[in-house]
Structures are given as C-alpha cells and as structure tokens.
C-alpha cells in the first residue's frame, strides 16, 4: 500500500498536475485574447442548411451562405438548391424573416446521341475526361456539340444523382437525387446540361439536342439531332419554342406541358419525361420512377 504513495508517485502527480494547471490557464488566456466575436445566428442558420457544401447557391459552401444570409439580414436573393424552399422557409421561421417561394429546378441532359443514334466513327483513347476529349476532337459520334461520354459530370456530382449508362454512353440524371446544385452544368465543357424547372409531377418537355449545325450536317453524325426544321414552332400555341442557329429551344417558363410538340418532331429530338404512356404511338423512354 505504501508503495503507491512513495515519493516518486507524489512527485509525478504534483508536477503533472501543475503543468496541466498552467497549460489550462495559458489556453484560457489565449482563447480569450484571440476570441472571434461572431454572430451566433450564423451557427443557427448553418445548422438548418443541408451541410452538403455543394456550392449550388453560388457561394463557397453552407457556412458562407449562412454568413451571407445573416449579414444581409434577409433571405432575398439567396437560395439553397439542395434544400429547396423548405429550408429557406425554416430559416425564415427561425430568424423571423420573410422567405420567398422558389421553383424547384433539376438538371436536364440535352443530348440523346447514344451509341445507337450517333454510332462511333472513331475510337477515343486517353484520359477519361471530357475536358481533354473536348480539346482533342468532336467526339466519337462526330457531333461537335454532343455528349463526349467521359463522365466528368458524374464525377462532379456530389449527390450520386448521376451515373453513366454503359449502353448509351450518356449520363443519366436521377430525378429524386438531383438537388440542382449545378456542379455538372459548370463541369460540362459543352454546356449540354441545363437547369430546368422540375415541373409538375416531375414532368418536363425539352429539346434534347444543342447542335447548331445545319440540319443535314447534324443528321449525318446523329439520327436524333434537332435539324432546325421549325415544325414544333408551328405546333406550339404558347410561343414557348424559339428557333435560333438551326436549333429549337423550349422556354420552360412558357411551356404548359401540352405535349403537342413531341410527336411532330421528325427526328424525335423533343423529349417528354414522366408522362403517362400515349395511347396510340409508343413513345420513347418514359423514365419510370
């Protein structure tokens, strides 16, 4: 028993205790001296944000957004794509500010140049990154506007909302996972991916092509390219479709999802997603959720 309390034990307990005490005091003083006074509301707001740091709001992560919101003392002009208006409402409630309604958006791939429709004319070899392939050549299919299929967008997605379809060699966007952070939009060297309104019941109609070449040239490399014929233009009763540089574009603000234009497109370049199957003609890939 006595051995436990011999001189060495006592000495070490005392000396270590003393060192610990001094260190604690130093730490406390330093912490006081270098204390950064921060608005506690920033933490509160950050707490409510999803914490994905995706940068979809245009700022460098959730903390930056929280800081910006608190600094501005209002929610005007801020949005959190992954959290949607729900999160903004929550923040508004917690802080006592008015939060506006924001339309849910989603990434849409505007190219359908799969292996089937735009068969490879050459074989690409090298670093599997679109950024390089884009500098090197027009793409295996030969369309200088089309998807290169190296999957930089999939790589950029932080939410597992995309994957490369091995058969088509095109990326697929998963409706339920995409949070509209725009990472893929920024990454795509050809600006194929567009942010569009998510639409009622996830229904969307869009031109799945961005080829601005003349119809004949575009058709040569891809069977489902928009050839700029303007048929859809005539069909649309709501002035939602514009034709520029041999390319039709559907304005999602004006489109009423009436489904008149897809059947008239001679190259099936207009896609409709998540609609019930048409009665007469079997339509292409209604992605089932």
């Amino acid at each position: 028993m006595n051995e436990l309390f011999n001189e060495i034990t006592v000495l070490s307990v005392v000396s270590l205790g003393a060192i610990g005490g001094v260190a604690a005091i130093v730490l406390f003083l330093v912490a006081q001296k270098f204390k950064v006074i921060e608005d506690p509301r920033i933490d509160e707001v950050e707490e409510l944000l999803p914490g994905a740091n995706c940068g979809g709001c245009g700022l460098a992560g959730c903390r930056a957004l929280a800081e910006a919101i608190v600094k501005a003392e209002s929610l005007d002009g801020f949005s959190c794509p992954p959290g949607g208006s729900e999160v903004m409402q929550d923040i508004g409630k917690a802080m006592g500010w008015e939060a506006g309604e924001s339309t849910p958006m989603i990434a849409v791939l505007r190219c359908n140049g799969s292996r089937e429709f735009a068969p490879p004319k050459v074989k690409y070899e090298g670093a599997m990154t679109c950024a390089f392939a884009h500098n090197l050549f027009a793409g295996e299919g030969g369309c200088p506007f089309g998807c290169l299929g190296c999957g930089d967008c999939v790589e950029a997605c932080d939410f597992d909302a995309m994957y490369m379809d091995k058969n088509t060699n095109l990326p697929v966007i998963l409706d339920d996972k995409c949070v509209a952070c725009q990472a893929c939009v920024k990454e795509c060297p050809r600006n194929i991916i567009e942010m569009r309104k998510k639409g009622k019941k996830n229904r969307r109609i869009f031109v799945s092509c961005i080829n601005e070449e003349k119809g004949g040239v575009a058709r040569k490399s891809c069977k489902v390219a928009c050839i700029g014929c303007g048929k859809c233009l005539k069909e649309c009763k709501f002035d939602a479709i514009t034709l520029e540089n041999n390319l039709a574009y559907i304005d999602y603000e004006k489109c009423t999802l009436c489904r008149k234009c897809p059947p008239v497109c001679p190259t099936n370049a207009i896609h409709e997603l998540n609609f019930p199957v048409r009665k007469k003609k079997v339509e292409k890939e209604a992605t089932t959720e």
Partner: protein, 332 residues
Amino acid sequence: MKLLTVSGSPHYHAKESVSSLMYGVIFSLIPAMLVSFYFFGLPAILITLTAVVSCMFFEFIIQKYLIKGPVTIFDGSAIITGVLLAFNVPANLPLGLMVIGSAVAIGMGKMTFGGLGKNPFNPALVGRVFLMISFPVQMTTYPKPTAFTTQLTDVVTGPTPLTALKDGVTQGVPVSEIMTQLPEYGRLLIGNMGGSAGEISAIAIILGGIYMVIKKIISWHIPVTFIGSAAIFAALFWLINPEVYPDPVFQLLTGGLMLGAIYMATDYTTSPMAPWGMIIFGVGCGLLTMIIRFFGAYPEGVAFSILIMNAFVPLINRGFKPKRFGEEVKNG
C-alpha cells in the same frame, strides 16, 4: 475496316513498363541471391521462396477479395518486396515468422495505402522492422556462413561483425582488438560473414547496382550519396578515435549498408523525385545509419534510417524541385 483510334499526342510509347523495370531489378538481384544461397545453403533458398510466395499470395488475397480491384501480382513488385524482405532476415528464421513478416510488409506496408506507388514506407523494411521488434531473438540469431552442404537442423550460429563490434565496444574492448576476431576485408567483400540472408556480399550487390545504373533502372544519386556520406561520417569518427570507432571500409562492407543503399533506399515510390532531393535523401540515410550504429541501441541502423528518411520524402519533394528551364538566364 475497324475504327480509327483518336488520342492525344504522343503516339509513340517507350517499351519500358512497370513490370519490365521490376523484373530488371529482380534480375540484378541474382548475384546477391546466389552468394546468399552459397553461404547459407538450403535455408536461404527456402526463406527466399517463402517470402516471395507469401508476398504474392497476400497481395493476391487483398487485391482480389478486399479491394476487389485488378490483380497485379505478376508486375514484379511483390516479388521484389519478397526477395528484399528475405534478404533482410537471418537465413534460419522460422518460415512461419517469414510468412507473418510478408503479411505485414504487403498488408501494412503496401496495400493499406492503396498498393503499388502509394506507400510512403518501403514495404520490405516495414516487414523487417516489424519482425525485428516483435521477434528480436529469432531476428538476431544469425547463422554462420558455411558451404552449401549444411543441413537444416544443426545450423551453427554466430554474431555478425557489427554485433560483435557493438558488444565489444560497449564492454570497453578497443576496436583493434575486436577486429582481430573478425573476418578480414576480402572475406567481407565477398560476403563470407554472419548476417542477414542477402546483405552479406557487398560485391554482388554492387554488381547488381552497376547493372541497374547502366540500364537506367535507378539513378546514381541515392546509392552514391548514401554510401559516400556514410563513409565520410565514419571516417571523421575514426580519425577522432580509432579505438572506439572502426574505419569506414569496415562500416561499408558490413551490415545491410550496401543492400540498403542500392536496393532499399532507391525504391521508386519511397524516394524523392528530383536529383537534389535524391542527394539530400541519400546523405540523410547515410548520416542516420552511422548515428544509429555509433550511438543507438541496435548494432545496425540501415533499416531505421531509410524508414525515417522515407517519412521526409513528401517534404523533400516539395522543397527540391528540378532545375526549371529558363530559370537562370545565362548569356554566354
């Protein structure tokens, strides 16, 4: 006709590949291997085989079932790890221990970090140091070199020159007296002395090293600076007090210095990239080896010194860049 290939330039590629480099190293190890087989006989062959096979086996298991990635056991790197690990242990080490050592070398030293090219420490040395610390008795019971005829069972053991020296010096015996007990330099050069399985023959290892430098498998920077700095450092101490510190020639020929300098320190993955970085690395290894030999508890310091310097490699790579073209403008 098949589709044309499109790729970025260049369209030529050198014949060299990872495995051709690795097999080049293995080829250059043959002389050292033969010497080891000659002096230590069957146990040396068995230990080398065990190490190679178990290294490849563990790499296979990990790549196939743990990582579930491509299996690359035939690229030669696992074979080198196995051979070098075997070279770094006494030839009469129980084979079970060798298997454990291989598992540690490949598993802990290499695959944990992501496999070939990702490991910060030389896998063979990780295995060796693990064995050294865990099984000190078996790892320091060195067989005496004999002809090839020795039976497995009755191996005569004896100290390595370095252990003998360390023991002597700690007991206060002057170096000159210890030296009389030890083999003369000619025998040391050939490798007729106690020691780890593959480290004994300086001449065979140097031969392999020269082959590798000529074939441009390794550059001269690390071996030359390693050996050179060790020699200079040893010479300094020898000049100060020849009664406590043996002469540099003895230091160079004994222990794992040659093997370490030529094969272990020059491991691609764990050595610096730029020429000046390699030189700093080599000098650091040389100095640390001698410091451990002179002042450390262990008689030998090559393994530790290389591992310590391995840890500095990322820092060295950051600090020592190759000479950029157009950096200093010379007009002449």
